[in-house]
Symmetry: C2
Subunit: 254 residues, 2 copies
């Protein structure tokens, strides 16, 4: 029966000495014997056990649970594996969402077409703007449109930029929270969003104002089907926000 020192065993198994010390202290892998000087010596059985430990560790099982797997005879390994698999699937799903979010953010960054605040119509094709204004005036009335433009200009470019940046942030954050419109954090974002939009539109949201904002936004995003009016990354997102907002208004007294 040959014995392995910590170093030999660590090299054999490809782990650090520290790891063996740790496993010893947490009763996951004890040496078969200690020399008079306190040196740890491991036998074949321990090497065997270490192999098992490393297998489960590689699967991202926490060491405590590995301890149970190996020591508790009543432990249901198959069930543990099934559950672990479910947990891994959830992690994978979350990562997929994150990757999607990043991709959308990159798209938004690449063709950053948010309203640039300083000059309302700068950068837009002149004839399209004119067409849009005319259409909007005949739809919601000339005064409404002028009021919107005044409100925007009155804010000053700094505050305007700040608010739009924050709207941007909130939309980004909502992207990460997509799912349950009634979720607490979602509702917090919606409340904040509502407040900003209210201020953007000069104190109250009259019919027509928001729509005109949207129409302007659509002009900017005309050739990017993936980025909707107010910077929303997708139709799914728009639906989500409108659901969350509906719930918000239903449960809030202004």
């Amino acid at each position: 029966m040959n014995k392995y020192s910590v170093k030999k065993l660590s090299q054999l198994a490809g782990v650090s000495v520290r790891t063996l010390h740790l496993y010893d202290k947490m009763d996951l892998l004890k040496p078969s014997v200690r020399t008079g000087a306190g040196y740890r010596l491991y036998g074949e059985k321990e090497l065997l056990r270490l192999q098992q430990i490393l297998f489960y560790r590689e699967l991202d099982f926490p060491l405590k649970e590995i301890c149970d797997i190996l020591d508790d005879p009543a432990f249901d390994l198959m069930q543990a594996l099934e559950e672990h698999k479910v947990a891994l699937l959830a992690r994978k799903e979350r990562i997929n969402t994150l990757i999607g979010t990043i991709e959308k953010t990159l798209v938004t960054l690449k063709n950053n077409t948010m309203l640039q605040a300083a000059d309302l119509y700068e950068g837009l094709p002149v004839e399209k703007v004119a067409e849009c204004r005319t259409a909007a005036m005949s739809k919601w009335g000339k005064d409404m449109i002028l009021e919107v433009e005044d409100t925007l200009r009155a804010l000053g470019s700094q505050e305007m930029a700040a608010m739009q940046t924050e709207l941007n942030n909130i939309t980004n954050r909502l992207t990460t929270l997509i799912g349950d419109p009634q979720h607490e954090k979602v509702q917090q974002c919606i409340a904040r969003r509502y407040e900003i939009i209210t201020r953007l539109t000069g104190g109250k949201i009259a019919p027509g104002k928001l729509e005109y904002f949207r129409t302007l936004g659509e002009l900017y995003a005309a050739d990017k089907p993936d980025v909707t009016a107010d910077g929303l990354p997708s139709r799914q997102m728009a639906v989500f926000i409108s659901e969350a907002t509906a719930y918000y208004h239903k449960n809030t007294r202004h």
Copy 2:
């Protein structure tokens, strides 16, 4: 300009007060001002910044990196996002591998048909065993087969079980390491595996012995196409092991 206390801001943003303390200490989010009593007060700009922080945090960016993103004007956000995406893709790939490993392990557990060590042929259809033995004897000689059987029996059921468990472990571990046959840890496993097989076959691996082991294994695994001779979870795994073993023998002097 309204100011938020820690609690108000924490409720507004859906984080804990502790989190705000932490972000303060690590210079990620400082209050805009402190009262005479040392109370933290945050303004709109800070709320804005917190929204950004939470967005990147949700994407699993470490807080230190968020600090850079927000404070370093030279920071290349797009590149950071691209890199982060790559990292997330790698994590996802790893999780996929883990899920695959678990599934294979579950298959192996469900129809646990590894050699049961104590009684060599127990549990096998008698006529198949006879047929197999006869074929093997005519192929590699009667003496060889008898020698194999003697070797196995001579080991005693305990050691036999131990070694097979360890072989099992090693195969499991190799499953998690699949990829580069020359990788250090792979080669450690292969060395260990070689040692055990050598002992299992009575000191030397003569042509025929291993093949007979395999044939026996195939009997056990006959109706499970996914589990090959010696418990390998797949053909891919078999190829991987044989490559790694070839490299091992080429670089080792026995």
